[in-house]
Point group: C2
Chain length 348, copies 2
DNA sequence: ATGAAAGCGCTAACAC
DNA sequence: GTGTTAGCGCTTTCAT
């Protein structure tokens, strides 16, 4: 059947535009992808036809031909209820926004939480996505190694802590710097006994953040012994840890590896009739909604997730370019500190 | 060029499998899509070849041929900072999970917040997605009407409040029932003066939720006059509204249209030295992370978002089936109540 | 039950 | 600068 005599079924195609503009299909393709190749008047005629028809290239056909999908795969985990952790929400939005500007959409997938590789393989083999953004590198990061082996383009949000020899591109936030920022802020306020509540030792991110605290303390010749605690990332753990530290080390301020832990500290203070901000200062990490709406307002380290997304997409574009543009292997961004009520000046 | 002599560039294709199994390409296609058509031994041979090669059908080719993408478009808004609203996070994950089980992936896009249609059009015209899930129906819902006109398959999360004549499929949570649940819970605890803090009158969702409160109160012959306030959805608005109500109407309990407003109430109580849960009860709406980690724990109405996702995907499958399966136009799900400290029994 | 032919809509390569 | 040819990998139709 001749394409010219088609019934108006489905969106217009290249052929429709070509016929209407009185040019060949290839010329229409060029008008869309390489406008410079056309003479001005031809271009105008084709563009008019495109506008008239409301033509947009069919994605599947273009994908098949160019062997790209302009899709970026992102695996998401269920939101952790009962915690204040909600980094993903902000990051996902930033990534979607930035990707759009670069001509990409974000394809979400989940996977068996026990199998970090689930989902990646199928998408890769079926050429459903051009690249991945890998976020859950804290699990030990087998995805990164695995994707690297398959030569799958990807950028990690998070450093390859466990694989010192890894060569893949990554973008991360300098947790140590963030915690140092928080600690310095407290020290500047006059605090001397600043405690740390962080995660268990097997968390590389936790240890990194912790190092920001020890560094800041030691730079002012302040001791850290007996002032630190390593616990699970739950509110109740934070509460107990704070209780023990208050009893045994009498800190006047707490820096925490997460807002979840910081909330635990606030609970412990309230139980003892201590006023957060006035009696004891507290700083959390992630600038969660909880930090923003709780009373008193929780000071917190904020990750520049918008900027992370920008760096990730820029890296991705380099990776996917032909020929691939050499990338800086890693980009480390510095967080900021949101000061709220819980780190007001010490009373008196 | 004969496909048989290909260099091992890129993933295996149908032709590769066919050659290895000694059958035609069509037979491989049938083995994948209509296994029943093959003789048992042929099927086994083909499946072995598929497994050996790690073959998975190329998405773009399949999409082009079948005119489907097995992608569901979802437009996301930026997380509202400074509020406790985080329904999206949980919903998105549920939707991705449920979609996967139905063979779909979720494609995320954003749009100009001032133009609710931005993004939809391009995806539709380029046949990038098979259907949409429309969530932000509270804005007045032009997307629904618009998509309906274009005969684009979609399901709305949220009723067509503004368009009584709308015929599209939707899934929603019965906010009135949720608030009635909360109010009854408080009345059962012995409260009689239960106040309502909700959104401005132009919010249909807000008015619906409010109706659950008036209904529950009136069912027990309790007055509502002077006990209600309609404000913006911010913590400070909730705080002021609670202050005014406490001064003028002396309620012993508050039901709020959101956790954000409920947090405002908690602030107001704390400022007055009143203890939430003991002196005055408070129930929020959304069961946000804030409700879960704040102290005292905030009782809250929880939307069954997992179930919403299941219903939406089921409806979508019906819509996309050939021939389309007739759908119930709307599905209304009932929320549950998470009881925490702020709605403990009245003291004494 | 299996194979051959055609074509989805697009773009890369080349001819004019 | 524009048109022609071919083919991406798959599935639908029809023949065997």
């Amino acid at each position: 059947m001749a394409r010219g005599a088609r019934t108006p079924s489905g969106p217009p195609t290249l052929a429709d535009v070509a016929e209407r503009a009185g040019v060949s299909r290839q010329t229409v393709s060029n008008a869309v992808n390489n406008p410079d190749l056309l003479r001005a008047d031809t271009l105008a005629r084709v563009q008019a036809a495109i506008a008239d028809l409301g033509y947009l290239p069919n994605r599947a056909a273009r994908n098949l031909r160019t062997r790209t999908s302009h899709l970026i795969g992102l695996r998401i985990q269920p939101a952790q209820e009962g915690t204040a952790n909600a980094t993903m929400d902000r990051f996902v939005h930033s990534l979607v926004e930035t990707s759009r500007e670069a001509g990409y959409h974000v394809l979400l997938f989940t996977g068996d939480p026990t199998d970090p590789l689930a989902g990646y393989d199928d998408l890769l083999r079926s050429t459903a996505v051009d690249a991945f953004v890998v976020t859950d590198t804290y699990l030990g990061n087998p995805q990164a190694m695995w994707l690297d082996q398959r030569r799958a383009p990807f950028v990690a949000f998070g450093r390859p802590w466990q694989q010192p020899g890894a060569t893949h591109a990554w973008v991360d936030v300098d947790g140590a710097a963030g915690v140092a920022l928080a600690t310095d802020h407290l020290l500047d306020k006059g605090h001397r006994r600043v405690a740390w509540i962080g995660w268990r030792k097997d968390s590389a991110i936790g240890e990194d953040r912790r190092s920001g605290w020890t560094r800041a303390m030691h730079l002012r010749d302040l001791p850290t012994t007996g002032l630190a605690s390593r616990v699970e990332d739950t509110v109740t753990s934070g509460r107990s840890a704070a209780g023990v530290l208050l009893d045994e080390a009498a800190p006047t301020a707490f820096v925490c590896a997460s807002d979840t832990l910081a909330m635990g500290v606030l609970h412990a203070l309230a139980e003892r009739g201590l006023r957060a901000g006035d009696d004891v200062a507290v700083v959390g990490f992630d600038d969660s909604q909880v930090a923003q709406v709780v009373r008193p307002g929780l000071s917190s380290v904020r990750q520049p997730l918008e900027q992370v997304a920008v760096e990730i997409v820029a890296t991705l574009e380099g990776l996917l370019a032909h020929p691939a543009v050499p990338q800086a292997q890693g980009v480390l961004l510095t967080p900021t500190l949101e000061v709220r009520d819980t780190s007001g000046p010490v009373r008196g």
